[in-house]
């Protein structure tokens, strides 16, 4: 077990490293970086100003060579010359180039070196520029487009609550509903109840949330409002002004009732979608278990049917469900990208999409990195949970 966990954690770090490297490459090869924007902005009015370009290059580390830039992005180091016992070492190690061309360096000891760079950047110069804490300490840099200069992590924190609320509630409802429905469908296989829910779940998994969301808004928000029925809001996290709803009375903007009112439709759409997949999953896993010999044995020795189902069958049927729950962890953070977009829900998923549409790659990369990390953790968790719920399984 310990052995397994160590190996698994090593794998996580290798994966995290690969993904961080890929993210970094994406981040800097992506179109619309800060420099490109500046040039585009200026070329419409005047020629690019060399000082301005240099300032931007310094500001975003664009002058440094790729390896140093990656290190600084990932760890926040190096921040200047390395000092050992009051002695500066590697202070004049060249780490980048601000301007192409030729230059001659004259060292204090009289050495003269010709280099292919008009304005070289040395390790010593890094002490003067502001440095982040690095991705490993959750400093993902600053937003370039959505909220200029605001730290990415602050942007994410400001949206996290909304996403956790939406995803937490819909996951809870989906689990709470799918387990009993799945069990009952399996126990009463081919009954009317079973046919109804099998059909419903088929539609639920076949219809994209994009469509169910839009249909939900059309019916429960727009149509109900026009018919004078108690309607639901068409989107957003809370209202901008007080709303008068038939039968429900006045809902004050920003109140608890208002937030609850806004949650109903998106939570329902997501619950419906998850419910479809999970119910099918529980049903088929339950059907599999009910066919086993030990269930027949339990029945034969006269155990009450309710106990056979809940104790002998269900416990075993839920084992594969654990894997499914592992996938929940990253979505709790990442939100439902499409549902949040349909409902203008100011959560993390929508932040990600807005960042992509606006080419704000630091924000988008932060989202991907955190999601990846949580996905990996989810995998380990599910493996460990497996051994907890099923002692037959040993990790090695």
């Amino acid at each position: 077990m310990a052995n397994y966990l160590v190996r698994r954690f090593i794998l996580v770090f290798v994966m995290a490293f690969v993904v961080s490297l890929a993210s970094f490459v994406l981040l800097y090869s992506a179109p619309g970086g800060p420099l490109e924007q500046l040039v585009a902005l200026q070329s419409t009015t005047r020629r690019p100003d060399p000082d301005e370009i240099e300032r931007i290059m310094k500001r975003y580390d664009l002058d440094l060579n790729l390896f140093v830039r990656y290190l600084r992005w990932l760890t926040g180091h190096p921040r200047g010359p390395i000092v050992i016992g009051g002695q500066e070492v590697f202070g004049d190690l060249q780490v980048g180039c601000l301007k192409e061309g030729q230059a001659r360096l004259v060292y204090p000891d009289g050495r003269v070196v010709e280099i292919n760079c008009a304005k070289p950047v040395f390790l010593r110069d890094l002490a003067e520029r502001p440095t982040g804490n690095g991705v490993i300490r959750l400093d993902f840099g600053r937003s370039q487009q959505l909220a200029r200069e605001q730290p990415v992590i602050e942007l994410i924190e400001s949206r996290l609550g909304n996403t956790l609320l939406l995803m937490g509630l819909s996951t809870f409802f989906a689990i709470a509903l799918s387990i009993p429905i799945g069990i009952y469908s399996a126990v009463k296989q081919y009954s009317r109840f079973d046919y109804f829910f099998t059909t419903l779940t088929f539609f639920g998994s076949g219809m994209p949330t994009l469509f169910t969301g839009v249909m939900g808004i059309l019916v429960f928000a727009l149509l109900f409002q026009r018919l004078g029925l108690p309607y639901l809001p068409a989107g957003l996290v809370e209202s901008n002004r007080d709303a008068v709803v038939p039968l429900l009375g006045t809902i004050k903007a920003g109140s608890f009732a208002d937030r609850l009112w806004h949650l109903i439709l998106p939570v329902a759409v997501l619950t419906f979608f998850n419910l479809a997949g999970w119910t099918r999953f529980i049903r088929s896993s339950m059907l599999e278990v009910l066919r086993q010999d030990y269930v027949r044995t339990a029945r034969a020795k006269g155990v009450v049917e309710r106990l056979v189902i809940l104790k002998h069958a269900l416990r075993n049927a839920l084992i594969p469900f654990v894997t499914l729950l592992a996938g929940v962890l990253p979505t709790l953070f990442g939100g439902a990208i499409i549902t949040e977009s349909v409902f203008n829900w100011s959560g993390i998923g929508r932040l990600f999409i807005n960042a992509l549409v606006a080419s704000d790659y630091p924000v988008a990369i932060a989202y991907v990195l955190i999601s990846t990390f949580l996905t990996l953790i989810g995998f380990i968790l599910s493996d460990v949970l497996y051994t907890v719920v099923d002692p037959r399984i040993r990790l090695s």
Partner: protein, 334 residues
Amino acid sequence: MATTSVPLTKPTAPVLAGARSESQWAIVLRRFRKHRMAMISLGALMVVFLASLLAPVLAPFPRDATGLAPRFSPPLTAYNGQMHWLGTDHVGRDFFTRLLYAARITLSISFFAATLATLIGMTLGALAGYFRGLVDSIVMRILEFMASIPDFPILLIVTSILASRPESLPIPRFVLDAMGALMLLSPVGNERAQVVVIIVVLTAFGWISAARLMRGMVLSVRERDFIEATRALGASNARIILRHVVPNAFPPLVVSYTLSLAGALTAETALSFLGIGITDPTPTWGNMLQFATNFMLTDPWVPLIPGLPVVIASLAFNFIGDGLRDALDPRLKM
């Protein structure tokens, strides 16, 4: 639950001369015909397919012509003596016309993405499962890697970078020309390159499930006695794989292919809806839906026009997959 299936083996018993026998595919066809929803779905898809094929003939207006009638004219509006069957969109383009062209583009993208992904997955899965060793461990590592990353966000970010700058992907000229001709795209601008980028990205993220399925099937088939017998008769590896292993692993793959058509369709729609995939003026159901939802509060009927085809096509592929599953392997019946 296709992954747990055991494939049907070919009937090997000699057939008595003169006795009426039904071939395996005839049985499958007969069983499939009994699945009512699958047959209805097949009919619905045929209609959509034919309509998109005949788009240039059926469409009453040029694809991108704006201001044909006042914006958001309701369906069945006649304007300047010409009928707009489904009304007009936010810049007065004919909805019916754009829906037909969009069907052609969306269906083609789903077809190519799902087909390429399945072919690549099949090939790699078969090689990995049959030869084991180095190929297998490489393929397995890639599969593991892809399973432990959040694929939808990464698909979105890659698409957003490539689709906004499609020239960064070296696409052969003839591919662009062929796709342009197939989907009736204009050679000016980066319309054609965008479509190819979407196909490439969806393929790159779509082959995983087919590869895993194929590998599992091959692993179970290759240990069977008839493979041993074939090898004893001196058949080459290529012959064993193509003539014996692949056909035996076929039934679940057909089902997974149908479902991956639905997957590619909804993925493309989602990408275009989110404004990251194919962008206006190239019509797809997804980007039409995006504009439609923006004006939903004032014109609530608009989202239904691009929305219904999406859901009909997606459900149809699912039903056909379900029908095929029942027909190919009755033991897998849900």
